[in-house]
Structures are given as C-alpha cells and as structure tokens.
C-alpha cells in the first residue's frame, strides 16, 4: 500500500477539527479529576496492567 506524501498546508477542515479537539480536551480537563480520562490523555491506559490501574483507581478513590 502506497503512503501518501502530505503537503505542508493545514487544510481548513483540519484546522476546525484541531480547534474542536482542543476545546474537547479542555472540557475533559475541566470536567474534574476523571482518573481514566487522565490516563488516556497521558497515553498510559494501554501500557498499565489491570492491577496497576486498579491500584491507581483505588488510590484515587481513597485519596
């Protein structure tokens, strides 16, 4: 499968999506201290084991 070379310009639709995503991220961040969403934002959710997540959530819950 051929990989497409991309032009440097940021297309308008991309820009809209970027701004929308930024706003979405902001809203998620503002929505409180949701531990799982925080893990997703940090890119850790797939790398942590279930036990680690359990401990993390338990800690959050206790704390």
């Amino acid at each position: 499968m051929k990989k497409r070379e991309s032009k440097k310009q940021i297309a308008i639709q991309k820009r809209i999506e970027e701004v929308m995503n930024q706003e979405f991220e902001k809203l998620i961040a503002e929505s409180g201290d949701d531990p799982l969403l925080k893990l997703i934002r940090q890119g850790k959710i797939d790398s942590l084991s279930l036990e680690e997540i359990k401990t993390y959530l338990g800690g959050k819950k206790d704390g």
Partner: protein, 624 residues
C-alpha cells in the same frame, strides 16, 4: 478516511456530450480552461447528483441550472442510450495507507419527448464503487452508503463543489434574518467530534482487557460461559450504540434536507400564487378592454342605422330615374324584372325557387307586367327625392368600427394566449418535485426515528443483561472498580461532547473570519452568531450589507470552505464577481487546500494560473 484527492471525472453521453477532466497528480492543483458550454456547471451538477442520491433514488433527481428535475440523456437522440459518469479519487486511511476509489454511475434509457417530468425514460441506473482496483466493490445503494459513511460526501458536496448558485444560496441565507436558525443548524451539523470516538474506543478496550483477564482466571465452566456471554453482549451493545448514533446523524441530515425542501416549497408556492394572480389580473384587464370596445362598436352601429336616412340617400338622381321609370311604365325598369319574367315563362320553371310552373302560375307571372302599384307606391313615385348632404361622415364611422373590431380581435387573441409561461410551468414542475421530496424525506425520518427508538430499547435491555451478567460473575468483582469507572468516564465524555456543540459556532466563526481577512485584508473580518447570523465586518463594524457583492461573495467562499468535510475544492468560474480580489483568493485557496480544481473561463487564467497551477489544461467537448 482522509486526504481525499480527486484524479478524474469523466462524463460520457450526458446530453450527448463527452469530456474528461484528468487532474494533476497528488500534491498538485489543477486548472481546466473551459469556455462557455464545455461542462463547468454540468460537472458540478453531476457530482452533486451522484453524491446526494443513491442509485434507488436517483431517477428524476438531477437538477440543471434552475430546471428541477432535468434530463440527463440526449433529447436529440432516438433509441436506447446511456450516460456514464466516472469519478476517481484516492484517500488515506488512519494508518496513512492510500486507497483508490472509482465511483461509476451508468444511466440507461431513451429520450421520449412525451415522457414527464423530464424527457428521460430511464430503464435503470447502475452505481458501482470499486475500491483498490477491484479488491472490493460496492454496488447499488451500498456504494452510496459507503461514500456517505467513509467520506460524508452527501453532506458536503454542495460546498466542496462550489459555484455561483451555491454562493447565491449562502448570500441569501446570510442576509435573511428569518433564516438564521437554518444557518446555525447547518453549522451545528458540520461539527465533528473524532476525539469522543477515540476516548470511547480506549475505554471499551480497557473493558475488553478486564473481560479477557477475568476469563483467563476462571476454571468454573458456568463462569466461563458467563464471561463469553458478557463479551458477546457488550459487543452487541457497542454495535447497537454505533448504529443508533449513525441513525441519529442520518435523522439530522434528513431534517436539514427537509427544512431546505420545505423552505423551497414555500418559496415556490408563493411564486406560483403570484404568477396565477398576475395572470388573472391580465386576463381581467383584457376582458374589460374588449367589453368596452364591443360596446363602442354596437353604439356606432346603432347610430349608423338611426341616421341611415341622412347618409343612404346621397344619390337622388339615380333613385329619381328609377321612380320615373316605374311611374311611367308601371313596371320596374330593366333589368330588374323583364328578363326574370321572360326566363320563367320560357323555361316553364320559377327562376327563383326552381318549381315547375303550372297554368295558373304562368298566368300570374304574365300579369306581373300589368300589375298596378298601390296608392302609397304611386305617392312615393310622384315626388322627386332631393339631394341631401350627409350629416356625418359614414365612411369615417365605418373605418372606426373596423378599427374597433380589429382591436377587439387583437385583445381576444392576447387574452386567449394567456396561459402558464414556460417559467411558470417550470415552477409548477419544481414544486411537484419538491413536494415528492418532502414526502420521501418525511417518510425516511419517521422510519429512522422508529429505528432509533427500537435500538434504544434494545440498548436498554442489553445494558440490563450486561449488568446482570457482571453481577453474577464473582471473578469480575475484583475488577468492579475499573468497570464502574469505565461507565462513569463514558458518561463524562458524552457530556463533554454535548457541551462542545455550543462552542462550534464560535470555532467556525473564527475560521471564516480568518479566511475573510486573508482575502480582503486585515480591515475585514466575519462573525457568525446564533442571534445575528453570518455578517461581514469592516473596521470592526458588522452588517449583512457590508462589503458589497464582492465582499459577500468572498464571505460565501469562506463559509463553504468551513462547512466542507473534505479537503479538495472544485470551483466553477472562480472569479465570479469578486472584482480585484482574484489574486488574493487564488493565494488563499493555495494556502488552505491540499487540492484545488478550478474550471476557469479563458479570461480567468491570467489571475489564477500563475498562483494555482502554471499549466492549465484546455478542455473541449466531443459531441455524439
């Protein structure tokens, strides 16, 4: 799918025309030099037809200029024929791999001048979408469904295929205070939230990991079955939620289409009512005129009869000569009766009625020569008529009567010729089309709403079943904290998605404003608001009439750019009425699109060619 790049649009047999637009390779823009009647408008209209309507609904849905519906087949050709539209494009998937697509719509049938509402007598329409050179293919309505879900062409083809007609629509929408709601609805439809799906996927992935791990730990067969069931039910639940969301999206799209059709219907209805009233007024006007003229004719005729003695007896000498002849000879002068009497007697037949003369009749005819006139006749014959000057010019009156009659005939012809003009007939045809569309779209919305309701119920049942299965499984209890949190987090992102809708207007407004600034200069900006609609700003002052026609046209361009969901922009006659802003527009397009396809008039090349594509491609049509 991302980075759409159109590579070819081929039209074969559309109204007997054949032309191919072959775009430059990926990474390059393309300008076609297309003079009048070479397919600029046609290309845009055919793309809209192909992407808006699935195969099963495409018949009589093509619109050309302001003709709705319009014919596709060649109306000068007899017998079976076909029109083939081919659209080739490439796009990249999430992994950056490029895929090739070829959409083809073949319309078969023949042209019949008596066929209504268009002359097209279509026997079938065949849609095909070939993916990666035959590795996969979608046929019929499936082709449309695929394009709809993967590219949302159906939602944005009006914007990425841009022409003067769409610009005018946007200008009307932005300048009409009553249509702000429609405008905002359109903008909200544009909102996409790819991150929501990404977050959901991550959370569902975590849930699957929990189930996998729990499944691996159980030794009890009943618990294993429970986990298997749970996995299957959760899978069903996700699929149903996706289906429901897609159906909701379809409802929103159809609602928008319905609103547009209803507005158009209202507009057409008003135009038709006005046209009918005008026709009646015109008819009545002619009727009144004819009545007046007819009365004039009758009055003049009565006058002529009444004054007959003043203008009939103008040749007194001739009449006096006749009188003298009758008086002296006791019979009418020749040739008034002599020949007639002689002929009757000679032939034995009455020369007037043709009956044979019996003896008594012959005697009576012979006696006519000797018949004596009564006293009144004698008296009449005894005096000479005097020459009289006519009291008025009868010839002048006759000419006036003749003129009045001719005038009446002319008015009558005019009145009889008043019927629906071609334009009015077109309005009625379009109204019928729109009426049909409204009914179809309403039906679809009802079905979609029913489907959503049905899925909501299934989702509710499935959720209860999942909860029950989870609570029954002791191995899952140790992961309860994770499972509970997953549900909480999903609710949080759904709520955030709803909140962002209120921000969409501001985001789109900002993007449109940037576009306007880049073309018209820093003094200009744009504002989109739910209360005031779309406005152009000049030195910080906003208004629906600011910027003149060219400014509002630029505003329309920027709005269309913000509304499209794919990157390429295909423009018919890009300069329109933008005046001196051509070079700025060209520069703006280059800076904001990965692919620009312009169909330019030869006179536009000097402005757009050097900036967008230095080697414009001339296009000519082949007939036949």
């Amino acid at each position: 799918m991302d980075d759409v790049h159109f590579s070819l649009i081929k039209v074969a047999g559309y109204r007997g025309r054949h032309f191919t637009l072959k775009m430059n390779p990926s990474g390059q823009n393309t300008i076609f030099i297309m003079d009048g009647n070479t397919g600029k408008t046609t290309t845009i209209e055919l793309l809209r037809w192909c992407f808006h309507y699935p195969e099963s609904q495409a018949t009589n849905k093509f619109t050309h200029m302001w003709v709705v519906p319009a014919h596709v087949l060649d109306d000068t050709k007899k017998g079976p024929q076909a029109c083939e539209i081919t659209i080739q494009f490439a796009a990249t998937d999430d992994e950056g791999d490029e895929h090739f697509y070829q959409f083809k719509r073949v319309t078969e049938g023949e042209s019949d001048p008596n066929n209504k509402p268009t002359t097209d007598k279509i026997t079938r329409i065949i849609d095909t979408l070939e993916i990666d050179h035959g590795k996969d293919a979608k046929r019929g309505d499936e082709a449309h469904e695929y394009l709809k879900h993967a590219f949302r062409f159906n939602e944005c083809v009006d914007y990425f295929c841009f022409d003067g007609e769409k610009a005018r629509d946007i200008m009307q929408l932005s300048s009409n205070s009553e249509k702000i709601g429609d405008l905002i609805f359109l903008v909200n439809q544009r909102a996409t939230h790819p991150r929501i799906e990404e977050y959901k996927q991550k959370l569902n992935g975590l849930r699957n990991r929990v189930l996998e791990e729990a499944g691996a730990k159980v030794s009890d067969q009943a618990l294993a079955i429970n986990i298997g069931k749970l996995k299957a039910r959760i899978g069903d639940l996700r699929a149903l939620e996706k289906e429901r969301d897609q159906l909701k999206q379809d409802i929103a799209t159809h609602s928008l289409a319905l609103k547009t059709f209803e507005d158009r219907y209202k507009d057409l209805q008003e135009k038709i009512t006005t046209a009918k009233a005008e026709e009646l007024v015109e008819r009545t006007k002619y009727e009144i005129q004819i009545q007046g003229k007819t009365k004039e004719v009758m009055d003049k005729r009565r006058l002529l009869y009444a004054l007959g003695s003043q203008w009939i007896c103008t040749d007194a000498n001739s009449i006096n000569w006749i009188k003298m002849q009758v008086k002296e000879k006791g019979k009418l002068p020749e040739p008034y009766r002599q020949d007639l009497i002689q002929n009757c007697l000679a032939s034995g037949c009455c020369e007037i009625c043709g009956r044979s003369l019996d003896k008594a009749s012959e005697e009576r005819i012979k006696g006519l020569e000797r018949q004596v006139a009564p006293h009144e006749v004698h008296e009449f014959l005894s005096y000479d008529l005097k020459e009289r000057q006519p009291a008025f010019d009868s010839e002048k009156e006759r000419k006036e009567i003749k003129r009045l009659i001719e005038e009446c005939n002319r008015l009558d012809n005019k009145m009889k010729s008043i019927k629906l003009s071609e334009e009015d007939a077109q309005l009625i045809s379009e109204k019928e089309f729109v009426e049909q569309e409204i009914s179809t779209v309403k039906g679809k919305i009802i079905n979609l709403q029913r489907d959503v309701k049905e899925r909501e119920e299934w989702i509710k049942d499935l959720k209860e079943e999942v909860e029950k299965l989870q609570s029954q499984n002791i191995t899952l209890k140790e992961y309860k904290i994770i499972l509970d949190k997953i549900d909480e987090s999903i609710n949080t992102i759904v709520a955030a998605g709803e909140k962002i809708k209120s921000k969409t207007i501001d985001i789109i407004s900002g993007v449109i404003s940037e576009g306007v600034q880049s073309i018209l200069g820093s003094r200009f900006s744009a504002k989109l608001s739910p209360t005031e609609g779309l406005m152009l700003g000049e030195d910080g002052f906003y208004g629906r009439e600011r910027g003149g026609y060219s400014g509002r046209l630029i505003l329309s361009y920027c709005f269309a750019e913000a509304m499209t969901l794919v990157d390429p922009i295909i423009v018919d006659t890009p300069s329109g009425n933008i005046g001196s802003q051509r070079a700025n527009l060209a520069q703006h397009l280059v800076e904001n699109h990965r692919q620009i396809i312009l169909m330019c008039l030869p006179t536009e090349i000097a402005d757009f060619g050097p900036i967008i594509s230095p080697k414009p491609i001339p296009i000519t049509n082949k007939e036949g």
